[in-house]
């Protein structure tokens, strides 16, 4: 198995139900070794829940079904110890929830050393040296002087760097970063995206980058999954998606992003609102908001289907190729 299969992680028909309401409706998704995959979609579409479920981190009331394989090993329903070995070791996650970030009463150096002990069995001088190397790697200036400082003595951007350093402590094969830059200022966000790119080039680890910002995703990822109401609706390479979005929702998302490099113009919203998971529309979940919907869309839900060009698409009436090319972003074509 192992190395013959290029996929590090394989999710199959992953479903999550909270209090009798299904919020994730069968996710099929592969992450190849070393690749950078983006997950985008609006608030509540299931980006975080997908990976929290995969790593067994949801609260007990969540019912999770389906299959999660890491290097061919099944995790769904696996013993706690097996899960813990994978988490932090093979796979590390940076959480969106700020309360789960750094421990405010421990110095940052001790927190990184603790992660090194847990995941790599390092102790004493070796652990300290490695912690300093990690701090330096994520761009904390003068690590020896800052080793004993507490989280509140760092800025928001530096705390995010320290979180990344802790995640890297276990030398993971995959880093899952859930909205790692959303709370940061624009200039700091650019620094962190740059850091993620550099680290990936240096370590060869795979990255899952969760964000609602298509712009940020295009800067760190090679492949992107667009989610809507608990399902993947389109999956393509960054170049494909950005030059020719085929799902009307993807297209709508692109059109709704205000442009900074064009004259002032009226924005193009998607009409309506995201559906309540308790009352999902029949057929395609996007159909009530979709400008291309036909009667069939409200009756039958189109499955996520591979296309000839390598992408996957769940739509009965995709945006025609010529039309989807209308707005070609500059960078992609250069």
């Amino acid at each position: 198995m192992g190395s013959a299969n290029p996929n590090l992680v394989e999710l199959r028909d992953l479903k999550v139900t909270f209090d009798g309401v299904e919020v994730l409706h069968g996710i099929d998704l592969d992450v190849a070794r070393g690749e950078a995959l983006g997950l985008v979609g609006e608030s509540g579409c299931g980006k975080s829940v997908t990976w929290l479920a995969a790593l067994g981190l949801l609260p007990g009331k969540a019912a999770v079904t389906g299959s999660v394989r890491v290097d061919g090993r099944e995790l769904c329903g696996a013993r706690r110890s097996a899960l813990e070995e994978i988490r932090g070791g093979r796979i590390a996650m940076i959480f969106q929830d700020p309360s789960s970030s750094l421990n405010p009463v421990l110095s940052v150096g001790r927190q990184i050393v603790e992660a090194l002990r847990l995941h790599r069995g390092l102790r004493g001088g070796a652990a300290r040296a490695e912690a300093l190397r990690l701090m330096d790697m994520v761009g904390i200036p003068d690590p020896p002087r800052r080793f004993d400082l507490y989280p509140h003595e760092f800025s928001g951007g530096q705390c995010q760097r320290l979180m990344i350093a802790m995640a890297l402590a276990g030398q993971p094969d995959l880093l899952i970063a859930d909205e790692p830059t959303t709370a940061l200022d624009a200039t700091i966000q650019a620094q962190i995206l740059d850091l993620l790119n550099t680290l990936r080039a240096e370590t060869g680890m795979a990255l899952v980058f969760i964000s609602h910002d298509l712009g940020a995703v295009s800067q760190v990822c090679e492949r992107v999954c667009v989610m809507y109401a608990g399902r993947i609706v389109e999956e393509a390479t960054v170049a494909q998606l950005f030059s020719e979005p085929r799902h009307p929702y993807t297209r709508g998302l692109f059109d709704a992003i205000p442009r900074i490099d064009a004259p002032r113009q009226r924005l193009l919203p998607i009409s309506g609102t995201v559906p309540n998971p308790k009352h999902l529309p029949e057929g395609c979940s996007f159909s009530p908001r979709c400008p291309r919907a036909v009667d069939a869309c409200g009756r039958e839900r189109p499955p996520l289907t591979p296309l000839d060009d390598g992408r996957r698409l769940a739509c009965t009436r995709p945006v025609p190729l010529a039309a989807s090319r209308r707005r070609i972003p500059q960078g992609v074509m250069q």
Partner: protein, 332 residues
């Protein structure tokens, strides 16, 4: 045209305690800011977290009093906050901020909330109130069947529209919007931005639009002021500033906006972090992060100067004496 709202050299210093037992240290949240907005115009204010945008917005409305400098509304000095005169004026100046749920009363239907200012300011006879509320709801794109809903029964975008409808009820002349769409998803954000723009154009309202999202500001503002640690460092028309930012900070800010499909390479990435506002760097506050900084930047504060028609910048290198000295030196 005479400005509707005008601010001259505003100053606001907060005393903050560092740590539980620490000394208090002054934070110059707004430090010598001047601006003017005419009727029907939108001024965008951008800048990093803690740069003083919200404080400035509150000062423009007189909610947060200026410690020095003055605000003038329709040519007259702003009355002291809390006075009857100020309260009367408040009907003409409204604030919309980021969190619509906090701005609304969860026990009242949205009709009741939109009608509230009409009642408080006794603007129109009781019998016409319902019609005016219906008109306001239609103007912001809320459906009549949503009138009886409570805030938690609406989506985030719908709530923000209810807040905007309420702000418009008293027919304000000035609207200060502090991050009004930051909590909304892009598809909904576009709906709310369009509503604001249409209403403003139809009613000739002057608007101050505060946001850290440059993309949104680019599409709603006529003019943009960039703040850094309490000061305006550059101001120009929206068309000009996004196309050819001059101040090194504005350049970095504009270049850091991820444009879908544009690679990260070639973007200007700043070194270092924003400084602690309580420990404001000497000279130009931006100098520790600035790729152009010279000696003069460390010692002397650059003034906001004209650098072209209708645009100003505060930078020794792109808009100061150093700029001309530099050209002289190169010639010699």
């Amino acid at each position: 045209m005479n400005p509707l709202i005008e601010a001259n050299d505003l100053l606001r210093i907060y005393e903050t305690r560092r740590g539980l037992f620490g000394r208090t240290s002054p934070v110059r949240a707004v430090d010598g800011v001047s601006l003017a907005v005419v009727q029907g115009e939108t001024l965008g204010i951008v800048g990093e977290s803690g740069s003083g945008k919200s404080t400035l917005g509150r000062m423009l409305l007189g909610i947060d009093p200026a410690q020095a400098g003055e605000v003038r509304f329709s040519g007259r000095p702003m009355p002291k906050s809390g006075t009857a005169e100020w309260r009367a004026l408040r009907a003409k100046m409204q604030l919309v901020y980021q969190d619509p749920l906090a701005a609304l009363d969860r026990r009242l239907t949205i009709t009741a909330q939109i009608g509230e200012p009409l009642e408080i300011h006794r603007m129109i006879p009781k019998e016409h109130r319902a019609a005016r509320v219906a008109e306001l709801m239609a103007a912001v794109g809320l459906r009549p069947d949503q009138a009886g809903r409570f805030p938690h029964e609406l989506s985030g975008g719908q709530r923000q529209r209810a807040v905007i409808a309420r702000a418009l009820a008293s027919r304000p002349k000035l609207l200060v919007c502090d991050e009004p769409v930051s909590a909304l998803d892009v598809s909904i954000q576009a709906q709310v931005v369009n509503v604001l723009r249409d209403l403003q154009e139809q009613n000739g309202i002057a608007m101050v639009f505060i946001s850290h999202d440059l993309k949104v500001v680019r599409n709603i503002a006529d003019r943009v002021a960039v703040m850094y640690l309490g000061r305006i460092v550059e101001e120009a028309s929206s068309d000009v500033i996004f196309q050819s930012p001059q101040h090194p900070y504005t350049k970095a800010l504009v270049s850091s906006v991820p444009v879908p499909g544009k690679p990260l390479e070639g973007r200007m990435i700043l070194q270092g972090e924003p400084p602690n506002p309580a420990e404001r760097p000497s000279g130009c506050a931006f100098h520790p992060r600035c790729p152009l900084a010279r000696d003069i930047c460390r010692t002397s504060v650059p003034a906001l100067r004209q650098i072209g028609s209708g645009r100003t910048a505060a930078c020794h290198i792109v808009a100061g004496e150093a700029a001309s000295i530099e050209t002289l030196r190169r010639r010699a």
